[in-house]
């Protein structure tokens, strides 16, 4: 069994994030930023 999608599906359609790896990295960076902000909030008001 292979999991390769069709070639047309590989394009993300976003100018700055042309590969899916780029999209996933963007999501992970956003996630890390959210955690940093939440940690900051916790430290500031505890």
């Amino acid at each position: 069994m292979t999991s390769d999608p069709k070639p047309s599906d590989e394009k993300t359609g976003f100018p700055g994030l042309r590969t899916w790896r780029g999209v996933y990295t963007f999501v992970l960076i956003t996630f890390a930023l959210w955690i940093a902000l939440l940690v900051l909030l916790t430290r500031m008001f505890s």
Binding site: D4, K6, W20, L38, F45
Partner: protein
């Protein structure tokens, strides 16, 4: 609620339902009824996935969770971005390539019929019970608004959702979810703004944050490694990743949402939309709960937020005892309010020592208030199987919001309930038809026959979930109850797929028995080990690990000689 509220409520709900029916008119074949027409844009998929998860339970119960437990619950969603990336990269292309209607079809192709039936059966059991929980949310709203007994509103709102789903199908769910979500979000943002505008007199935003922080409501991240604590950074990052993988990757109610995409790209982007926006959304809803908490420290709330249950109890010859609890609560709450005011005054005066002393006194006074609230809870239900936190937000809305807006927010909860519940029932109907009825009982019937069967199963599961809701008594609040229930069954569902995707030598018989052993292990864990030793998010990791290990051992023992099937 007055006439204006009822008018807005009726127009919103009927408008959404009518649009869904009109939009999908004449488009129903068996496959489009179940899977949609396959041309859904990624943004609609993203909203649909979000709305299916963020049911009325989320909007009703999460502010209550924020009120009671603070922001810590947001950690439960830390696993979501990781899980969604794994699903987008691994699960989704396989589902699309195999062109499956239900996720469990994959199990049949990779393993065998019995494993497919096991996956589908666990899903049906879990989702039917889950649907019983989600039906609670609109019923709570109706019960509060109309002052009707909860059981009557469970039956009423349950039947509305069943009819809506059975007549509309998956496309109707998708077509209306974006509008429902718009109503929901408008309502939540309005609630947030109004709470900020109506902060208690003399209280700045900085004071509000200081009070909330001082009373431990802003502890959003907790790095404790203790598995007995439900919501920590680690349980969120590790255990919840497994839960989210199972929910988004193997639960048909979600898989069905993103398989409606016209391509892998659309489905992937829909999932990534959720990976980015789910955490801030949950944070925002919990923050509403924290604002409610601070507001109710300065304004006397009901001692027990479920006033219908409280009044019912009072009518059963307990009114004197309840009045006594109520008056003691008034005194304790007044004292807490004074201590908090002293804290704020000391803060404004720049007197750190006085502020610290006032904070300690306020915390003591708050403990006293909470202890009386617990007495009230026990007075309503001596077995302590009822929880009033789900009623906090709706109580605030009905008491404080202007008319018209009340109607909009009540419509919001209904809209959310309608979307999530219809998606669940639709998925239950699909899985029963595709995974049980078709392969086991009626392999060669017409498309029209399967469509009728699927609608009949949707109605059947709707009735099962209403019956379950009527038998239920919740010690946890709704949002936690839903996640606890999921954690009892998701480990097995996930592990069947994990073995299928990543452990190719393992065959159907091994994973089938591995799954059963894992299910037994999780249930034993739940019933024998206290939650404060191993909290429920970890069941997902333990159950999955048990299934993988037991399957590997059984496969080794069987020493299957036949080559692995490929699909």
């Amino acid at each position: 609620m007055n006439g204006l509220d009822y008018t807005i409520l009726l127009i919103t709900i009927l408008g959404i339902a009518a649009y869904g029916t009109w939009h999908t008119r004449g488009r129903h074949t068996f496959k489009t009824y179940l899977k949609g027409s396959g041309d859904t844009h990624w943004f609609v998929i993203g909203i649909s996935v979000m709305a299916t998860q963020a049911s009325a339970v989320t909007f009703l119960s999460t502010p209550g969770q924020g009120y009671q437990g603070g922001l810590g619950f947001v950690q439960f969603y830390f696993g979501m971005p990781i899980a969604l990336i794994i699903i987008a990269a691994v699960f989704l292309p396989i589902y699309q390539k195999l062109n499956v209607i239900t996720a469990y079809e994959y199990l049949g192709q990779r393993f065998d019929l019995k494993t497919r039936l096991l996956g589908a059966a666990v899903f049906l059991l879990q989702r039917a019970l889950g649907a019983g929980l989600t039906i609670y949310a609109p019923a709570i709203v109706l019960s509060k608004v109309l002052d009707w007994p909860l059981n009557a509103t469970i039956i009423g709102s349950g039947l509305v959702v069943v009819i809506y789903t059975a007549t509309g199908g998956s496309d109707a769910v998708n077509a209306t979810q974006k509008y429902q979500f718009a109503v929901i979000f408008a309502g939540m943002i309005t609630a947030f703004v109004l709470l900020l505008v109506h902060l208690p007199r003399g209280l700045t935003l900085s004071d509000t944050l200081t009070i909330a922080g001082g009373m431990h409501k802003l502890e959003a991240v907790n790095f404790s490694p203790n598995p007995g604590q439900r919501y920590t950074f680690w349980s969120g990052l590790i255990a919840a990743t497994f839960l989210m993988l199972a929910y988004f990757g193997t639960d048909q109610s979600q898989v069905q949402r993103y398989l409606t995409g016209s391509s892998v790209r659309e489905s992937r982007l829909g999932l990534m939309f959720n990976a980015v926006f789910k955490i801030p959304m949950q944070f925002f809803i919990l923050a509403i709960g924290v604002l409610l908490f601070v507001t109710y420290q300065f304004e006397r709330p009901p001692v027990y937020f479920d006033q219908v249950a409280w009044n019912e109890r009072a009518a059963q010859n307990d009114s004197r005892a309840l009045r006594d609890i109520d008056s003691r609560f008034t005194v304790a709450h007044d004292r807490e309010k004074q201590e908090l005011q002293a804290w704020v005054d000391a803060r404004h005066a720049g007197d750190a020592a006085a502020a610290s002393a006032a904070r300690s006194a306020a915390l003591q006074a708050h403990d006293q208030v909470e202890s009386i609230r617990k007495e009230a809870r026990l007075a309503v239900d001596p077995n302590d199987k009822r929880n009033d936190t789900d009623y906090i937000f709706i109580t605030y809305i009905l008491d404080h919001f202007p008319h018209g807006l009340i109607g909009l927010l009540v419509a919001t909860f209904f809209a959310a309930a309608l979307s999530a519940k219809s998606a669940e029932l639709n998925a239950l109907g699909s899985a029963t038809t595709v995974d049980f009825y078709k392969p086991v009982f009626k392999p060669a019937a017409t498309d029209r026959h399967y469509l009728r069967a699927s609608k009949a199963f949707t109605i059947f599961w709707g009735c099962v979930s209403i019956t379950f809701a009527l038998c239920l008594s919740l010690a946890e609040n709704l949002i936690q109850a839903v996640n606890i229930l999921g954690s009892l069954f998701y480990p097995v569902m996930l592990s069947l797929f994990v073995v299928g995707f990543f452990l190719r030598p393992i065959r159907g018989t091994a994973v089938f028995w591995g799954g059963l052993v894992a299910q037994a292990a999780v249930l034993i864990l739940f019933f024998t080990v206290p939650d404060n030793r191993i909290s429920y998010p970890w069941y997902n990791v333990i159950g999955c690990a048990v299934c993988v290990c037991v399957s590997a051992v059984i496969q080794f023992v069987l020493r299957s000689a036949a080559p692995a099937r490929t699909v």
